[in-house]
């Protein structure tokens, strides 16, 4: 919403400076977005008088002028045809910057004649388009040295501010003035408009057939008007805020729309046939003032006569019945249109208009008669004519609201200790009334403040006008006593996993939660319920089923930029359906191994490095890594032979491996790429225990001993089966089983392989005898052979 300071001062009696006005607005909740002060640009220029002009001795088109300025009498060479003695001009001194020609003036010699400054045209000052000659100020009532901005009528700063949806009354300058007056910036002037009595019955009948959309329509005819350009002051006002003056009748409606948030419409009576009515649309078409044709549906409010639709109620009028310079009789409409229907019509047609913007936010329902009178008064003043009696079809919604207000609410919600008289005074300055005494007040709400619905709204008004800066400031302390963990176990897991992996080289990334639907489908997603209805682009139109998608793409982007060896990870959500339970936290990583050559030999990362990273992360996150089972059954986007899943019972804690080369090919990604996905939510909760004690350390002074075994087993036997069997041979004495060799080839039968393990045995109470070790060895061999079907390698 834009308004100029001069317009504001029509309603607000104040001496405040521009800065004071801006500050007061800011602190009252009117958030200023821009201030345009044309005077700033013109500060260097001043009023001067040309007292002499003689032909330049060396140039036909130039004159040498004598100019009385604030800096004394100056000689100025001027090429303007209208430069002559006796005119009042705008003077630009040496050293000033002239914006229209982008020049900073210097002392000059023009064709050997000294010239000290310049007399400016409107275009040179960017104060208009005129460049036929220098500015001549009209009349003789000027003072040398007067401000150019004032002389040119350009000393009217314009403020643009954000109108929050709860305050439609700020869409009128008078509403702004009321709040600023309440905030102590001046006094609200009495309204200059009064009642207008008509002289004859309104010749146009007004009917309402759609009371839900248009509950009330006030109108009257002014006959014998003379339309044409509106007066200079009105045009200036509209131009200052970016509105184009059209004709007096139209300008009046725009003026009142901004002056008091009172949208209006005017019809040329000569174009009307029969009564005018507010009715539902009926699959018609109509041409609006923006020159476009629209379908008028049965959900829209049409203003129509017997022949045609004349306008979309509350949204936009039509070209047919618009007022022109030839209009002599005018029908003024001052109606109430329903906010929701107005909004729906605006959305269906795509029309953004000042009227729609106001009606959808809600117009003061008590403004119909006074608004009609104000418009009539302006029409009579600017266009002459004779007004009919006003008629009101329908009845505007009644607004009567009283809020029961325990005045103690102010202290309860804000901490402010205010005298009741102060509270009452603030409310009254804002237009609130009612009974303001005792512990609980009965506060009546003015008709333009539909947003004020309850006690808290009144508290806000009081705190806002009194000043948020004067509220107390109290630090918030945690409650005394023991502090329970403030983060959930899942949050802690995520944090630990992230930092553990970053510790071993992964770069923590954050990528979009949405991806291309085609990519989602490759990673097991892309279902209908996860597709966006209004995506920002087709690349981001579906909620991602896996964080791998963007990491894979990012790995390629990085490689294209020369970073071909990198480890990326992300902790974030993935989505299986649109319910709260369908969202899952994932810790995903992607590795492209392309290490630089090293003088001591280079090794690329393989799936067992990734397995190690996954185990490191799981361990950091508190998962029982030793108890997890490995499986080669993984999701379809992994390489079927080079991927694994770590499970705990039925729960998959992680999958890792090479990403399926076929999928990379479909995505246009250079492989191979390794990756993993960890599911922190699948981890078992830590068992609750009393206290933080770690328990006693199980330490033995007895030396552990190691024994090696090799078994020949089927080539496709998972090594994990053998290791597990060996461990199971004696759960007390066997501390660790390390698989250190895998061999197939000469000496081992086709279809078989040899696996060698080192078993670490930790005696508990006493050193083991040879016999005891022998028994243990036999147990290990038996257990492994039974579990694997293999045999001890001789």
């Amino acid at each position: 919403m834009k308004f100029s300071i001069s317009w504001l001062k029509e309603h607000l009696d104040t001496d405040a400076s521009l800065n004071e006005i801006v500050d007061a607005m800011t602190m009252a909740g009117l958030e200023v977005e821009a201030v345009e002060d044309p005077a700033e640009k013109l500060a260097a220029f001043s009023v001067a008088k040309c007292v002499g002009a003689q032909k330049h001795p060396n140039a036909d088109r130039l004159q040498v002028c004598t100019v009385e300025t604030k800096d004394g009498v100056k000689q100025i060479v001027c090429g303007a045809p209208n430069a002559r003695a006796g005119i009042w001009v705008i003077y630009a001194p040496v050293g000033s910057y002239v914006p229209g020609i982008d020049v900073t003036l210097k002392k000059a010699k023009i064709r050997d004649v000294e010239s000290l400054g310049m007399m400016c045209s409107a275009r040179e000052l960017e104060a208009g388009d005129d460049h036929d000659g220098i500015i001549e100020l009209a009349g003789d009532d000027w003072e040398i040295g007067g401000e150019a901005a004032a002389a040119l009528g350009l000393n009217d700063p314009v403020i643009d501010f954000e109108v929050t949806p709860n305050r439609p009354d700020w869409l009128g300058v008078r509403g702004i003035a009321r709040d600023l007056a309440a905030a102590g910036l001046g006094t609200l002037k009495p309204d200059t408009f009064g009642k207008v009595a008509g002289g004859f019955d309104c010749p146009v009948e007004i009917k309402i057939d759609a009371p839900e959309a248009c509950p009330a329509f006030a109108g009257r005819v002014v006959r014998g008007v003379k339309n044409g350009p509106s007066p200079e002051w009105l045009q200036q006002r509209l131009l200052a805020i970016g509105l184009r003056p059209i004709s007096a009748l139209v300008d009046i409606t725009n003026y009142l729309s901004y002056d008091r948030d009172r949208p209006l419409h005017v019809y040329d009576v000569a174009k009307l046939s029969g009564p005018i009515r507010a009715r539902w649309g009926n699959a018609e078409r109509f041409e609006a003032l923006d020159g476009k044709e629209y379908d008028v549906t049965s959900a829209m409010c049409a203003i129509a006569d017997d022949e045609r639709v004349l306008g979309l109620g509350g949204v936009m009028g039509g070209t047919y019945s618009g007022c022109t310079d030839g209009t002599t009789d005018v029908l003024i409409e001052c109606a109430y249109f329903d906010p929701k229907i107005t909004r729906a019509t605006g959305r269906a047609t795509g029309i953004e208009s000042d009227a729609k913007y106001r009606f959808e936010r809600g117009i003061d329902p008590a403004s119909l008669e006074s608004g009609l009178d104000a418009a009539t008064q302006m029409v009579l003043e600017l266009c002459g004519g004779e007004a009919s009696h006003a008629v009101m079809a329908g009845k505007p919604p009644t607004f009567e609201r009283t809020i029961e207000f325990p005045v103690s609410e102010v202290k309860r919600l804000t901490g402010l200790d205010l005298e009741p008289t102060e509270i009452a005074s603030i409310l009254q300055r804002l237009g609130f009334g009612g009974e303001m005494s005792g512990a609980t007040w009965q506060v009546s709400v003015p008709s333009w403040r539909g947003d004020a619905a309850g006690k808290a709204d009144l508290v806000e008004e009081i705190a806002r006008i009194y000043g948020f800066d004067k509220l107390p400031q109290v630090s918030l302390r945690r409650a005394p006593g023991a502090v329970k963990p403030l983060a959930t176990p899942l949050q802690n897991r995520a944090r630990l996993g992230r930092r553990a992996l970053a510790g071993v080289g992964y770069l923590d990334a954050v990528t979009w939660s949405f991806c291309a639907r085609d990519d989602a489908a490759l990673f097991g997603g892309g279902s209908d319920d996860l597709v966006l209805a209004n995506p920002i682009s087709s690349e981001l139109d579906c909620m991602r089923p896996s964080a791998l998608i963007h990491l894979v793409r990012a790995a390629q982007r990085n490689a294209d930029r020369g970073v071909a060896d990198l480890s990326l990870m992300e902790i974030g959500p993935v989505y299986h359906n649109d319910s709260p339970d369908g969202q899952r936290l994932s810790l995903a990583g992607v590795v492209r191994s392309n290490p630089r050559r090293h003088w001591a030999g280079t090794r690329t990362v393989d799936v067992f490095d990734i397995k190690g990273d996954v185990q490191l992360a799981l361990s950091a996150m508190g998962a029982p890594v030793g108890n997890l089972q490995i499986s080669d059954q993984t999701s379809a986007y992994w390489h079927p032979g080079r991927s694994g899943a770590l499970r705990l019972g039925p729960k998959v804690l992680a999958e890792f491996g090479e990403i399926h080369p076929g999928i990379l090919a479909k995505m246009g990604i250079d492989g191979p790429l390794l990756g993993f996905e960890i599911w922190p939510e699948a981890m078992p909760a830590r068992r609750a225990k009393a206290g933080r004690s770690k328990g006693a350390q199980n330490k033995s002074d007895l030396l552990p001993l190691a024994r090696d075994f090799a078994f020949v087993v089927d080539a496709d036997l998972p090594a994990e089966t053998l290791v597990r069997a060996a461990k199971g041979a004696d759960k007390v004495l066997i501390k660790d089983v390390n698989l250190f060799d895998v061999y197939a080839g000469k000496g081992v039968e086709e279809g078989k392989k040899s696996l060698a393990i080192e078993v670490t045995i930790q005696p508990i109470d006493a050193t083991l005898t040879d016999a005891q070790i022998d028994v243990l060895s036999k147990a290990i061999i038996a257990k492994v052979e039974k579990a694997t079907g293999g045999v001890l390698r001789g």
Binding site: T26, R478, G503, L532, S579
Partner: protein
């Protein structure tokens, strides 16, 4: 005794002259071995008179001890010489490049989320979470956005495909739905236990979405929500809490300003500005006469409390919401929001943090 002296001199010289352990052993055998020269002299003791033996015996024993000591000392010296000689052959060019083990980095959003959690944790706030895909009730209606109200227009909402019943899920446009979920859970817990509502203090960091993309807007960004509900927290606490937060977060005194504003879910509502100055193209937070908007806040609207079954005449409190990405940009001088989500390794390394910098107040929030 001249002969003995001569023998000792000879053997001593031989020990000193032994160039390795084998030569030294030969000297030892020659002197002290079974048939060694000293051993033979010792054997001669038996043929002596007791008087002679009394003099020669201790002298020979002393000689044997001296020689043994010399041999041992020489042996130690030879071992050291041999080691030095071997080490001299084992020298590497230590200036060759290492096998590097580079650390990764923590994303600024992750780091700042941890910082924020630490600061509010110190004030007793727990961390709550909620889903990114929300229904209309949690994202709007329960937060006092009436259906079909212009206030919804400001949110540039992402919608998911319409369901069969005509409803549409949305991507949450703010973290405020977590307020609703937290309060609903607290109310249910109190009801079940038959107790009063326990005081609520939570922050809810997370991903948020708006259908908007330009230099300063990305379709996904991060917010942190705050909510305090009890029987006495008023707007003065809101001012104190957030002012304290800014000073702790930016690790400097920060001037603050609260301006009235409008949010459907708070009343009174405010926006908070922080003071800053621009110097040599950089933004200095906390100093200067310029103000920048940093967050929205206010007292929780009675309609919101009512919508979750909390009596607004008994309970009260405040809520706030601010952008994590923006906090990170301001504190750490990160120029462009769009880079946050590009996973560019060079950017992640430059703007990221060491994983060992786990923010905490004891050692300094950011180092």
């Amino acid at each position: 005794m001249d002969d003995t002296q001569k023998l000792e001199d000879e053997i001593t010289a031989a020990i000193a002259g032994a160039s390795d352990e084998a030569a030294l052993e030969a000297v030892r055998v020659d002197a002290l071995g079974k048939k060694g020269r000293v051993s033979l002299l010792m054997r001669g003791l038996g043929k002596m008179t007791p008087e002679e033996r009394q003099i020669a015996g201790p002298a020979l024993n002393a000689l044997k001890t001296r020689l043994n000591d010399l041999i041992a000392a020489r042996k130690e010296a030879l071992v050291e010489l041999a080691l030095n000689a071997r080490l001299a052959t084992e020298k590497v060019d230590i200036s060759l490049p290492a096998r590097e083990r580079p650390m990764g980095s923590i994303h600024p959003v992750s780091q700042v989320m941890d910082e924020v959690a630490v600061i509010f944790g110190d004030m007793g706030f727990a961390v709550a979470e909620g889903p990114d895909i929300e229904d209309d009730f949690h994202n709007f209606t329960a937060l006092n956005f009436p259906p079909d109200h212009p206030a919804r227009d400001q949110h540039d909402t992402f919608f998911l495909n319409e369901k069969e019943d005509g409803s549409q899920m949305v991507l949450r446009t703010h973290t405020s739905p977590v307020q609703i979920r937290t309060m609903v859970t607290a109310v249910e817990r109190a009801k079940k236990a038959g107790t009063d509502l326990e005081p609520i203090r939570i922050i809810a960091p997370g991903r948020t979405y708006r259908c908007d993309s330009d230099q300063t807007h990305t379709p996904m960004f991060h917010q942190v929500e705050g909510l305090v509900i009890d029987k006495e927290t008023h707007m003065g606490h809101l001012k104190g809490c957030l002012t304290d937060f800014m000073a702790t977060f930016f690790e400097t005194e920060v001037s603050t300003r609260f301006r009235p504003h409008h949010f459907p879910f708070t009343e009174p509502s405010a926006e908070m500005d922080i003071g800053y100055a621009r110097k040599d193209g950089q933004i200095l937070i906390g100093q200067g006469d310029d103000w920048m908007e940093i967050l929205g806040c206010g007292m929780v609207h009675p309609n919101v409390l009512t919508s979750v079954g909390i009596d607004p005449d008994i309970y009260q409190g405040f809520a706030f919401g601010m952008g994590i990405d923006r906090l990170a940009m301001l504190k750490y001088g990160i120029p462009d929001l769009r880079d946050f989500f590009a996973a560019d390794a060079r950017w992640l390394k430059h703007y990221g943090f060491s994983p060992l910098y786990q923010p905490n107040l004891a050692t300094g929030l950011s180092s």
